[in-house]
């Protein structure tokens, strides 16, 4: 099922076990931050790892998903499932429009275009009345899931977040291992050849981009519910950079890399927060070390050492 290899199945079972055990040892709100970051990183990994397109504006979809989910929840007190779904739909809609523009170029131009488009979304959020400007949308209620699960309890919220993460994780894995995913990898390796085989590569790239943005939006919506807040930080380009770092550190194009990267980067932020701008410096240094010496990332290096694919 899901096209897991044996090693991947073991790693998956290990990950599920960790997700199940950790909240009894560690602070659940911290873990929820890791899980939403991991889902967000999975969405980014889908583009860079399997289509070969580096989206430097992923925060736009995460942030807009977060804003719209928070707004829907606060204004209409809908069911949590609807708020999260609205977040995903927002990401998808925005992804369709911006993706249509961005896939006209590839390589570094794609990165610059997504960055610039995300900056436009940032300015929009800064000015638009519904986002609350600098204050953001605060005190968003967590509400109930399916009408009966009270999410104001941290543990209940944790299980829901874990469920959303696992669903998104498996969805990404399923996409990659479907015939559609094989075509994506073909496009990454040799786009002119894929075109000559009769694939409309632009359509494939756009669909992959929209899927990626949907997952980013879902991650954003979930994050808004967990923390009860949606702010400009969520759409800021530094968030985009952070998710690039997360995925790079974990391992571009690996299945478990984004999750491992999210755990490391989030913990680092958590424990280094008191040192102010040193967090930025550390992140920058990790970026450089990864690119210079460690391009496969943590999971990629482990996998290559064990000669398996993770």
């Amino acid at each position: 099922m899901f096209g897991f290899s044996r090693a991947q199945s073991i790693a998956f079972v290990l990950m599920v076990a960790l997700i199940a055990l950790c909240p009894f040892v560690l602070y659940p709100v911290f873990l929820m931050r890791v899980l939403t970051a991991a889902l967000f990183a999975c969405s980014f990994n889908l583009m860079i790892g399997y289509v070969g397109l580096l989206s430097f504006g992923q925060a736009a979809f995460f942030g807009m998903g977060s804003y719209v989910a928070a707004w829907t929840m606060k204004a209409w007190h809908v069911d949590a499932s609807i708020a999260i779904a609205v977040g995903g739909l927002t990401g998808a809609a925005l992804g369709l429009v911006l993706g249509f523009l961005a896939i006209r170029r590839s390589g570094i131009y794609f990165a610059m275009i997504t960055l610039a488009l995300a900056q436009m979304v940032y300015f929009f959020c800064l000015e638009a009345p519904f986002t609350g400007g600098e204050d953001g949308i605060q005190q968003v209620p967590r509400g109930h899931l399916f009408g009966f699960l009270d999410l104001s309890n941290d543990m209940t919220m944790y299980w829901v977040t874990a469920g959303v993460f696992l669903a998104g994780f498996l969805l990404v894995h399923r996409i990659i291992h479907s015939p559609f995913g094989q075509v994506l990898k073909g496009i990454r390796e040799n786009e002119p050849r894929a075109t000559s085989l009769g694939y409309r590569t632009d359509d494939y790239k756009l669909i992959a981009f929209v899927l990626s943005c949907t997952i980013a939006g879902i991650a954003g919506g979930t994050k808004a519910l967990v923390f009860g807040i949606a702010t400009l930080t969520d759409v800021h380009s530094s968030t985009s950079g952070e998710i690039v770092l997360t995925t790079l550190l974990g391992g571009l194009g690996t299945v478990f890399g984004p999750a491992v990267g999210a755990l490391v980067v989030t913990s680092m932020e958590n424990y280094l927060a008191q040192f102010g701008a040193w967090v930025t410096v550390t992140q920058g240094v990790i970026f450089m070390v990864c690119v210079l010496a460690f391009r496969r990332g943590i999971v990629g290096e482990i996998a290559s050492y064990l000669k398996i694919s993770l």
Partner: protein, 295 residues
């Protein structure tokens, strides 16, 4: 008072001048990016951070060593250029055989390090840099009062841009450079030290950013974020212009600055996003950019 399209003349010209100044910075920064990209095949994401560094170096020269604005205009690009040489020799040169994206990621990390270090040392609030006495005050142009320093910035930026264009398009050094951009192994076979040419190109592009930084120091306060505020817009400028032509970068930079200035007069709400909207239109109509070569 002169009225133009129902707008008071001085307001219109004032915003046009502000637009030209922003355009001057767009032009200098996108020019450096284009020159570096042509030769090194990487997008120098650290360009904004090096622009900021140029401003900071001039501030440091003034406040610690008492070296004034005009010497700093030479010294700061020189120092940042040397820093660029060190960067290119130690880290960036390791990436030429890899995918372009790694260059982008590395220089992005570099910009985080530089900005973080300056933020630690000087905090995030800006520090003022006084306009040199010689350039303070304003001149009456008849239709508006022009602050002398702003006129100087436009003039200096234009001079430097044209000089860069002339060096690349009209000198034999520039011819070698262009040839190496087209086919590096062949140029190397003719006995040109291509790796050194690459290093110097990077240093030159970086020095251009630092020069822009010194010019910007008296206008914007000197602060660690001044580069990242600019660089996202500069990337949009690069996409709009395409990186194929030097003159194209200059024209696009100044042009978009003016467009931004005019938007501030006629529809201020859109002034922050207008460059990005232009980018959207260009992507729809001419994806390779106004001056870009066909893919």
């Amino acid at each position: 008072m002169i009225m133009i399209f129902g707008i008071p003349g001085p307001l219109l010209f004032g915003q046009l001048l502000l637009g030209l100044i922003n355009g001057a910075f767009y032009a200098m920064l996108s020019l450096g990016l284009a020159v570096i990209f042509g030769m090194l095949n990487i997008i120098n994401f650290a360009h904004g951070a090096l622009f900021m560094m140029g401003a900071f170096v001039s501030w440091i020269l003034l406040n610690y060593l008492g070296i004034g604005y005009f010497p700093a205009l030479i010294l700061s690009p020189l120092l940042v250029g040397i820093f660029g040489i060190v960067l290119e020799k130690t880290v960036i040169s390791r990436l030429y055989k890899l995918d372009h994206l790694y260059g982008l990621l590395l220089t992005f990390g570099l910009s985080l390090v530089i900005e973080g270090l300056f933020r630690n040392a000087y905090g995030s609030s800006g520090m003022p840099y006084r306009i040199p006495d010689m350039l303070s005050g304003a001149t009456n142009l008849g239709f508006m009062y022009m602050p002398n320093y702003r006129g100087w910035v436009v003039l200096a930026a234009l001079t430097v841009c044209i000089a860069t264009w002339a060096i690349i398009e009209k000198t034999s050094l520039g011819a070698t450079l262009r040839a190496a951009t087209e086919n590096a192994p062949m140029v190397q076979a003719f006995g040109v030290n291509v790796p050194r040419l690459i290093t110097l190109t990077y240093a030159g592009g970086v020095a251009l950013a630092a020069f822009a930084g010194v010019l910007a120091a008296p206008i914007y306060s000197v602060n660690p974020n001044m580069g990242s505020n600019f660089i996202n817009t500069v990337f949009a400028v690069v996409v709009i212009g395409g990186m194929g032509s030097i003159m194209g970068s200059i024209v696009t930079g100044f042009g978009l600055g003016v467009v931004e200035g005019l938007t501030k007069v006629f529809y201020p709400q859109a002034s922050a996003t207008v460059v990005f909207l232009v980018m959207v239109i260009v992507l729809l109509v001419r994806p390779r950019g106004l001056f870009g070569k066909a893919a």
